[in-house]
Subunit: 202 residues, 2 copies
């Protein structure tokens, strides 16, 4: 059996447990049960809890990152597009970070548990959580710079401030869509993002 595939199976099981019962209940035994493995087998692939958690969090970040890169690849040559088309692509790219379907909703739910736990839980790598925040801001900043280069950005904006404003808005929208779906629906989530991008365009 391919050990890489096995580890991914375990990570999938972990995500299901966290989504359903919360990170609190994601014990080694619970994850092993969910994966249909004996705890001994699980421990053969992950020496201890810390290793499993770090691997799982890294795997989640990789998945999101891969999806984003695939989006960028599919975009192709941007210079040949109209301003309207470019705006749509930008919105689509950032939407990749929002919990708009069940897959991304699960990801964000698990992610919230992870970053919240990273503040205090010894087995969860706080550095990984920090890197994801930095990564989001790097992406958002690149998008804003590109908008500015193509003249799509309203003049007189502070790049630092606008990067943080859009990044934190995305985080807040994700948080509320997942934790309070009856307060913030995915559709409204998109409308808010759209409104913000329109505002930046001026």
């Amino acid at each position: 059996m391919d050990p890489v595939a096995r580890r991914n199976d375990v990570v999938d099981a972990l995500f299901r447990v966290v989504l359903r019962d919360g990170l609190q209940r994601a014990s080694l035994r619970a994850v092993a049960d969910e994966a249909g493995l004996n705890i001994g087998s699980l421990r053969h692939y992950f020496a201890n809890q810390q290793e499993l958690m770090s691997f799982a969090m890294q795997a989640m970040l990789d998945r999101v990152s891969d999806r984003l890169l695939r989006r960028v690849d599919e975009m192709g040559d941007v210079s040949a597009l109209t301003r309207e088309q470019r705006r749509s692509l930008t919105a689509g790219l950032l939407s990749e970070l929002l919990p708009l379907d069940e897959t991304r909703r699960a990801e964000v739910a698990v992610f919230i548990d992870f970053v919240a736990a990273a503040r205090t839980h010894p087995a969860i790598d706080a550095e990984l959580a920090r890197r994801s925040a930095v990564g989001t801001r790097a992406l958002v900043r690149r998008i804003l710079v590109r908008m500015e280069d193509t003249g799509a950005l309203r003049p007189g904006l502070d790049a630092d401030v606008e990067t943080e404003r859009l990044s934190s808005l995305l985080d807040g929208l994700s948080l509320n869509t997942v934790l309070h779906p009856e307060v913030l629906s995915p559709e409204k989530c998109v409308r808010v993002l759209q409104a913000h991008l329109d505002d930046l365009t001026g």
Copy 2:
């Protein structure tokens, strides 16, 4: 001994534990130790874990709510103020929700653990978390409406969308300031909020 004061002492101890070690480690024994009580004493004031958690979360919401109301009271007659003064008051009021000092930082840190756990943890009242989200939006909406009434709001804005945009921005800013202080400082947090309010003014 005043039972009300005792319960508040316990809640304070709970907050300290959650801030330092996370909600995960806030067991009845740990909270009792932090409060300098025997677990038996603690259980005399709180029959079980669920009762303690609900009471603590309610207490936290009350504290924030009280601070907001006090702010509103101190504002007095708004109509006598200049536009600039009113803008400053608005920013100050909303800043009450941001983790700008150690007190509010602790509150937000505890709050994050609570709302995240509310999604799955049986002992934590999810309805309370929902109400706090609804409450924030009611406050933000009232502020936006008041701005519109005094002509301080840029025309052509969708109230629903702007309410959610500002609310989620506040949530995102709070989240990142607490979880990634090296990425988002309290000072930058304020600057971002200020920029957003300026944007709404037009």
